[in-house]
Amino acid sequence: MTVHVTGLRVALDGTPILHGVDLTVAAGEWVTVIGPNGAGKSTLLRAVGGLLPFTGTVTIAGTELGRLARRARARRVATVVQSPVVPPGMAVLDYVLLGRTPYIAPLGRESAADLTAVHDVLRRLDLEPFASRRLETLSGGERQRVFLARALAQGASVLLLDEPTSALDIGHQQEVLELVDRLRRENGLTVLATMHDLTTAGEYADRLVLLADGRVAAAGPPADVLTETLLAEHYRVRVRVIPGDHGPLVVPVRG
């Protein structure tokens, strides 16, 4: 499903945070938003996920976000927020089952189909051995996979990932991103993510969007966005950009 964002403006507690953002993610595409801390990346994702009031338009497969009922929206768009809440004492299986909420009647209980969907996701993410473990007993990498599993259980074709790898070591970062990429290819998911590691961002995304001070400063293929000039301007950092196998390698250097 194509995500189309035009003229998006968001104000938080009266402070304007996004000043008219335009953005398109084609169906099946992976777009990653980069930008310095406080640029508005999380705010952008929350608006696209329908979690914030905004002006401008966001359409999912042609339907305006505001026209979708909450449950209908949750079946199309799944969000993994920057630091998901870990409910104390909850088992992994129950947590992933929360992803089926948009399919379960408000006061009803899950059907056999919901359980099948959950077990299917657990199996594909190699989480079956953890099904009855309490979420807070998992390591960071395992937890991140469980967060992803809940989002996948929503059966949505648009996946919003806010810094899915920030809490992980490079091995687990790669593991999670490869997993997302595999799921994207297998299920035709549309992915809109945010990320801090610029090299990694460029390696996995089809296109990058550089957000600075609530505006799109640059957008396009990684090689067009990850340039020494653009990064110097918006991150106030000196970097060397080296061509790599899967996109530019961004290396910070001392001035």
Binding site: A72, V85, G89, A91, L93, L98, T101, P106, G108, E110
Partner: protein, 354 residues
């Protein structure tokens, strides 16, 4: 540990349900058998069965002893089951809604609000010269208005006010609201000295004078509360991930919270209006269950009703037998047990400050 495909979602296992039912029956039998006159539990059980239509068992009890069971002790036991069940259920619901293991009808100020409502009605009635011993039917309504007002105030002070708050912030707000409402209640009592005796006897726990009238008055509210809260057991689990994520999952967190707060406050108000102020049941029972049976509300809520009822009935038994011939107020017993428990919960939360 590796349960793999056999792993099942949290559900109320039959064994737990049976345990809860056994606890209720055992507590009820104990409550009916013991007192100034001790009756054999077997005979008590036989008389209970005799209450069913078409059953006729010879229990060997005299007519007077049967009357002690059905007229004196049974309404008190039934009321204890209902009130205990309501307080524990409301506690579990508040804890889920606020994502705060310390939330309790008492500590949130809800009970004080309900108490103020009841006091206002009693004072008004005594002033009007009405001298019947039964509580007026308007009492639960007044208690509900007071309860909802109190939880709204606590919520505004503790949740909406400021960032960087900890679970204790909400409870501090509840303490402040309680203090204010208690002061308002004392003021009201001073203005209506003629109602003091009646208010006090209610405050210290009305279970002692419980009759079928009280059961009939509180039952409809208890049924509505239990139905609404239990219907939301899965929703409470969804609320556990916080408002933003619950919204992303398609839920209306504010709407669900409002319904649950209203229902829990109704249950608290009904309980308070017939039983006076009994604290800590809403912490002791849910917390113990959470440790033993798991954190899912699908398990916790129904078990809270059963074990809350059993717990309060047994507590009432202790309150009326431990210092015979005198009775100590039941709220005193629950506070003796509950205060150390509160410390336990506080410690188990560790450094968590979300």
């Amino acid at each position: 540990m590796t349960l793999g495909p056999a792993a099942r979602p949290a559900r109320l296992r039959p064994l737990w349900l049976v345990a809860g039912a056994v606890a209720v029956v055992a507590a009820a039998l104990a409550g009916l058998a013991f007192g100034p006159v001790t009756l054999p539990p077997g005979s008590v059980a036989a008389e209970l069965l005799n209450l069913l239509p078409g059953v006729r068992i010879d229990s060997g009890l005299t007519e007077r002893e049967v009357a002690i069971i059905t007229e004196l002790r049974l309404p008190r036991v039934v009321l204890g089951l209902i009130v205990g069940g309501m307080l524990a259920l409301a506690g579990t619901a508040y804890q889920g809604v606020f994502r705060n293991p310390l939330a309790d009808p008492h500590l949130l100020g809800v009970a004080s609000g309900a108490g103020l409502g009841v006091t206002a009605v009693i004072a008004g009635r005594v002033a009007a010269g009405d001298a019947t011993t039964n509580l007026p039917v308007g009492v639960p309504v007044a208690a509900f208005v007071g309860a909802v007002g109190a939880v709204g105030l606590t919520y505004l002070l503790g949740v909406a006010g400021g960032r960087g708050r900890s679970p204790a912030t909400l409870i501090l707000a509840g303490v402040a609201v309680s203090a204010f409402l208690d002061a308002a209640q004392t003021y009201l009592m001073q203005r209506h000295v003629d109602s003091l005796r009646e208010v006090y006897s209610w405050l210290l726990g009305r279970l002692a004078t419980a009759g079928w009238h009280d059961v009939r008055m509180v039952l409809p509210y208890a049924v509505v509360t239990a139905a609404v809260v239990l219907a939301h057991r899965r929703v409470l689990d969804v609320l556990g991930v916080g408002d933003a994520e619950a919204t992303a999952l398609g839920l209306h967190p504010q709407r669900a919270r409002l319904v649950l707060l209203a229902a829990a406050s109704l249950g608290t108000a009904a309980a308070v209006s017939v039983s006076g102020l009994i604290g800590f049941v809403g912490i002791i029972v849910p917390h113990t269950l959470r440790m033993l049976a798991g954190a899912s509300h699908r398990v916790l809520l129904p078990l809270s009703v059963l074990f809350g009822g059993a717990f309060l009935t047994l507590t009432d038994l202790v309150a009326r037998t431990v210092a015979t011939p005198a009775e100590i107020p039941i709220g005193v017993v629950t506070a003796f047990l509950g205060a150390p428990f509160f410390v336990l919960v506080l410690r188990s939360m560790g450094g968590r400050t979300t």
